[in-house]
Structure formats: structure tokens, C-alpha cells
């Protein structure tokens, strides 16, 4: 369906790579060597939570079990995120090669891609790609003939549930259950799919690893900031001339990003999708990184013509629909927050009540069972606070927003 545009450019993910490169190093590198390179790279998970990948892999490698699993999280459901789509369609070699490396390192023989149901249109080409890899002995028994390592990859489809991107809900879904997040601990690295040690990694995390093991952790570490090494894919949508996927080093400021994508008259940027925060113009000097403006990749741009209350309502409707309903703070809380937005919309509210709703939002952040309920009030709080002039006084582009 999609035509591949002009060649993409980037320092890591969109740099040159030949299928099998990362797999060929398995005959030269030990598991410890691989873990060392990833540790040196400082790579943190690209799925949103930013957990150090080396630690995750080390824990899984160290746990003793007759079976282990490596799962590629391709559920990509965060509103405004579409970088994994680009990786899977245009760079599947990075993702699959890295899964093989991951299996080798943690001691898993089966890798599973959990592909969101909405991406079923990619399934056939991905399966064909895997078949080709089997023919070339990049998958299967004794990979490349000299590794003594066997590994294969399956693809499982989701069925339209955002929560299944949360790693424990994803595992529940793979096990044939409702996608309801589990209590943690135990963490998946100890007890994951079918109770076995399981590593769940985002598509982009894996794709980065293919480059890290071939080019070295030091090379990767040189990019980005101290706490956020490497470069990152950003999915940019909304009010700009060139929406799309951009690879940029961590530490890029929002201002710089707006220039790159050709955005004008921008009043707000939602960083991190519906569960992220809304940043007003006065803070566009902030930098994209784990320590400042953090995002799994979603960047949505709003220009001066947009109604921020309307934007907020769209996000709250999303959470009301996508909450798995298991725990009360999230199930009931999101409905209350949406109700509050509607009250403001209708001009039928008291400030005292809205401020109680903000407190409720803060309670949800600590009392909810999983990341969905813990982050769904971010937009509510940040939009009402940063755009109060516009929302409560009808002044578009007031002192905060402009």
C-alpha cells in the first residue's frame, strides 16, 4: 500500500545495514560480549517506559528455565505513534535480526512478534520475509551453520485493544486471555509468557540493537545526551508541512523539531501521545529525552487555530474506551475526567470541582494498577494548567499558550 519515499536518512536506524549482519556476529561474540556492548551503549527501551535494555536482557539471561521467550512488542497503539509501522514495513531485517541476537543472548529458542490487529495488512509480507530468512538459514536449526543455535520467529495478531501494548497485558493476550495487566512483581523477565522468563521489547529497541552489536556500544553512546544515548524515531503528525517519521538524536529541542518538520504558528505540542504531556509555546526550548520531554515517539503539533479543550476531550474519550476496566481508579477516574471536560465544554462547572478532578487525576497516577491509568490524567492536568486562559477565559493564545 505505501510507496517507499525517497531514501530515509538517520544516524542509526536509517543508516546502512545488510540483512544478517547482526546474526553473523554470533559466531564471533559470546553472550557476555553482546550484553557488554548493549550495556556500553546505554540503550533504554523505546516503547515508552525507558527501562535499560541491557539490564532486562541480563536478568532474563541469568534466570534458569527450560524455556524462555523473546517478544517483540509491535502493538503500537499510542495515538500519534507510527514509527514501528515504518520499521516493520521498510526495515524488517533490523527487527528480526535483533530478535535472533536477543534469543541467543537470553537463551530463548522462540521469538514472538505481537502485531496489532490494525496492522494485519503487513502480515503476509512479514511472513514471507521470515520464510526467506528460513531459506537462508538465518532462522531455524543451527543458524548459519556454525552457531549451534536454533531459533524461530512467530507472529501473533492482536485484536484491537490498546492496553495489549502494556507488556503484561500483552502476555495475557498471547496466553488466550483478556488483555488485563498483571500485578508486578513478578516481572516478565522472571515469570512471563506461560510462566517462563520473557523479554518484551519494543520494535525500535530491537532495531537499534541490530546496529549496536554490529557497530559497537561506544559508537551509539556518542549520540544523544548523557542520560539518553543514541537517536530516536519520532512520529510527527498534526499541524506541519511534512508529517512523518524522523530519526533525530536525543537532546533535540522542540523548537528545532518544529523547524525540521515545517510547523508554523504552533501553540502546543503533545509529547508522548495521549498518555504524554502537552507542552505550551513558552517551553519549546525543552529537549526531547528521557530526562526532559519524554516520548515513546509520538509528537502531535497544534497550531493557534486549534481548540485545546477539544483536543483534551479526544484524549479522554480514548482512555475511557481503552481502559481494561480492571481497577477502579482508572475505570471510574477516566470517566469522571471526561465528564469534567464535558462540563467545561457546556460552561456548566465550578472551579472547585475542576480542581478536585485534578486531584483525582493525581490519585489515579499513584493508585492505578498499570501504566494506562497511571498516565491517562497527564493530558488532563497539563492541558487545563497550560491553557487555562484559552479554556476558562476564552482567550486563544493567552500568556501561557502564546
Amino acid at each position: 500500500m505505501e510507496k517507499i519515499k525517497s531514501k530515509r536518512e538517520g544516524a542509526v536506524l536509517f543508516s546502512d545495514y545488510t540483512r544478517g549482519d547482526a546474526v553473523r556476529i554470533l559466531s564471533k561474540m559470546s553472550r557476555e560480549d553482546i550484553l557488554f556492548e548493549i550495556k556500553t551503549s546505554g540503550l533504554k527501551g523505546r516503547g515508552g517506559a525507558g527501562f535499560p535494555t541491557a539490564t532486562k536482557w541480563m536478568l532474563a539471561a541469568a534466570s534458569k528455565s527450560d524455556a524462555k521467550y523473546l517478544i517483540c512488542n509491535a502493538d503500537e497503539g499510542e495515538p500519534g505513534t507510527f514509527k514501528d509501522r515504518v520499521l516493520l514495513l521498510e526495515y524488517p531485517e533490523l527487527v528480526f535480526d535483533a530478535m535472533i541476537v536477543g534469543g541467543f543472548t537470553i537463551g530463548a529458542t522462540i521469538g514472538i512478534v505481537y502485531l496489532r490487529g490494525e496492522y494485519e495488512y503487513m502480515l503476509k509480507s512479514l511472513l514471507d520475509y521470515l520464510d526467506q530468512m528460513r531459506k537462508d538459514n538465518l532462522l531455524g536449526n543451527n543458524i548459519l551453520g556454525n552457531t549451534n543455535f536454533s531459533f524461530d520467529i512467530q507472529i501473533k495478531l492482536g485484536s484491537g485493544a490498546y492496553i495489549c501494548g502494556e507488556e503484561t497485558a500483552l502476555i495475557e493476550s498471547l496466553e488466550g486471555n483478556r488483555g488485563e495487566a498483571r500485578n508486578r512483581p513478578p516481572y516478565p523477565v522472571n515469570s512471563g509468557f506461560l510462566g517462563k522468563p520473557t523479554v518484551v521489547n519494543n520494535v525500535e529497541t530491537l532495531a537499534s540493537i541490530a546496529h549496536i552489536v554490529t557497530k559497537g556500544g561506544e559508537w551509539f553512546k556518542k549520540l544523544g545526551t548523557d542520560k539518553s544515548s543514541g537517536s530516536k524515531l519520532f512520529s510527527v503528525s498534526g499541524d506541519c508541512e511534512s508529517p512523518g517519521v524522523y530519526e533525530l538524536p536525543f537532546g533535540t529541542s522542540l523548537e528545532e523539531l518544529l523547524k525540521i518538520v515545517g510547523a508554523q504558528n504552533t501553540k502546543a505540542i503533545q509529547v508522548g501521545g495521549a498518555s504524554g504531556i502537552c507542552i505550551p509555546k513558552s517551553q519549546f526550548k525543552r529537549k526531547l529525552s528521557f530526562e526532559d520531554a519524554a516520548t515513546g515517539g509520538s509528537i502531535m503539533i497544534f497550531n493557534e487555530s486549534r481548540n485545546m479543550l477539544h483536543v483534551l476531550k479526544n484524549f479522554m474519550e480514548f482512555f475511557v474506551e481503552e481502559s481494561c476496566g480492571q481497577c477502579t481508579p482508572c475505570r471510574a477516574g477516566n470517566m469522571k475526567l471526561l465528564e469534567g471536560v464535558e462540563m467545561i465544554e457546556n460552561g456548566d462547572y465550578k472551579f472547585s470541582y475542576i480542581s478536585k478532578l485534578k486531584d483525582l487525576g493525581k490519585t489515579m497516577q499513584v493508585a492505578s494498577k498499570c501504566g494506562l491509568g497511571q498516565s491517562s490524567s497527564n493530558a488532563f492536568i497539563s492541558i487545563l494548567e497550560n491553557f487555562s486562559e484559552e479554556i476558562f477565559n476564552g482567550v486563544r493564545g493567552g500568556k501561557n499558550g502564546n
Partner: protein, 157 residues
Amino acid sequence: MLVLEKNSLTEEIEQLVNLHGTSRSSLLPILQDIQRKYKHISDFAQQEVARFLDIHPVEVYSLVTFYSFLNTQAKGRNIIRLCKTISCEMQNKESVSNAIERELGISFGETTKDKKVSLEYVSCLGLCDQGPALLVNEKVFPKMTAEKAVQILSELK
């Protein structure tokens, strides 16, 4: 449902069970296959799946009702899903939804009388840079306009 139809559905489910296996992990793939073909998972189908997997039918029901792409009630032969999340909305999603509703004479959430088409809204389809995004059964259509959407409707079987 006629007895004959029931028998053939049972046979089909048995084949799916043979294909995917009888473990609990096979449940979702089996249901997805039934959904793909029949556009819903009937009470009878749910009971048969439960019987083959040796679990309680309510376990199957709980799954079908959880996932938004699975449903218990019969829908149209074609399911059209339009993204309603903000990036698509800002790209004039409404002109597309209005055109589709006008053309079919039904609203989102409904199915045409001849059971040809069901309309649904969905959350972000991962095509926010090319919205408004439409999913027609398993296929995606980026950069929708009112005209293009109506053209797609006219090509449905």
C-alpha cells in the same frame, strides 16, 4: 441456524482447532479466524470452540467481548473503520465520515439493511501522518477524502 449449517460450522471449527492446537494460547487465533470469515462469533460458535478447547463457554465469551475487533452480533460483510483520534480529526476526518454516512444512509455504529457494510469508529490506526485513515476489513487506506471514500464504497462486494 439450520442443522446442516451447524454441522458445517462445527467441522470448520474442528479444522481451526487442528490447525492452531487445543492449548489456551490458541483461543485468540481461532476466534480471529472465525471473525475474519463470518464477521462475528455466534453463540453457537463460541460454545463449539469452548467444547473443543475444554473450557467454559463464558471464557470464550469474555474474550469476544473484550477485544474490539471481535463481536458476538452479526455485522456487515464488510467492516469499515474510520480513525477518530485527534491527528486524523485535524485532517478533516469529518468530511469523510459525513460522506460515508450520506452515501450509505446509516450512521457510524450501524449496519446497512442488506448486511453489506458496518461502520465503526476506531482509535489511532498508526497512519497519523497520512490521515484521515480508513480500515476496510484488513486493508488500510490513507489520505482519505470524501470522494475517495465513496469510490471505495462503490467497489465493495
